[in-house]
């Protein structure tokens, strides 16, 4: 995966407000690992419908972090999961790892 997360969108929205940026990154740091875990837990018990719902939330964060290709992958994967297809799991899990590494580094 060549695409890397960035904070361009957050900086644009914040209008240079560092306090907002800090607060927002703290929210992402809390939300993302929780959502990732929920997604994995639902997959473990084969609850693909609920997994798809979590991906719906995660894909928003991919957009926030400027991961446009990964965002499109999430859109497709969400739809696939609703139909019971988990072929994109490995590819999507790689994206999750990249995001998690990035988010943890923000701390």
């Amino acid at each position: 995966m060549t695409e890397q997360p960035n904070l361009d969108y957050i900086k644009e929205i914040s209008g240079g407000n560092e306090e907002f940026e800090k607060k927002f990154l703290t929210i992402i740091q809390t939300e993302f690992p929780k959502e990732k875990q929920e997604y994995l837990d639902f997959l473990k018990v084969d609850n693909l419908e609920e997994s798809a719902k979590i991906i719906h939330k995660i894909k928003h964060k991919l957009g926030i972090l400027g991961l446009n290709t990964s965002y499109r992958l999430a859109v497709k994967y969400e739809e696939d999961l609703k139909r019971g297809d988990i072929q994109l799991k490995e590819e999507f899990d790689e994206v999750l790892q990249v995001v998690e590494d990035f988010v943890l580094k923000l701390a």
Binding site: Y9, E12, I13, S14, G15, N17, F20, K23, F24, I27, I28, T30, E31, K53, H56, K57, K59, H60, K61, G63, I64
Partner: protein
Amino acid sequence: MKCIIVDDEASARAIVTALCKTIPKMEVVAELPNALEALKFLKHTQVDLIFLDIHMPKLTGVDFIETVNDPPKIVLTTSDKDFAIEAYGYEFIVDYLVKPITYERFQKCAVKLENALKKSKQEQLEINAAQSEEEDLFINIDRRLIKLKFKDILLIEAKGDYIEILAQNKRFRVHSTLKKIKEKLPESRFLQIHRSYIINFTQIIDIQDNSVLIEKSVIPISRSNRPELMQRLNLL
């Protein structure tokens, strides 16, 4: 514009709040994590606008729309582009923002909102005006109660402990205050444009500089009242 943000994602709420801060007229009065909390909140607080996420657990945004009584204007926020067509089936839905919401798109949404709210206010005023067409007010003149129809009142001027009402080509001097009579007059037709004057703005002939002409009277407009007057006029 008082608004609330309803979204189960804290990050999404934070973004919309930040974007709202870029619009001077917009005030976020609450961020709520689900539709049930929003329904509870709306029981005691009136708002002009709701930024509403569609995909929420338990009660979705669509469930909320179908549940809420007399909804204010709603802007949908979701990552689901396909919902757009369905969304416009509801007349109170003003816009549809796909996440992540860009600054430029939000500014366009704010313009749409302002226009929609202005239109609603104008429509409400027209309804009220139509309803008040035949309504009237009794004034006490020398122990006689005289009936004045709202549509016939041109203006009211404060004069010390009295007010003078200009209506039906006559001036009626009544022992009262502008504040008291203002409470009795329909907002759809009357507006205070100066500390000493309330006018029936449907009777304005013209406006020049800082004064309005009503019949033969030239009435000053105070600087603080001018914006509201201009907003109420149907300007081309």
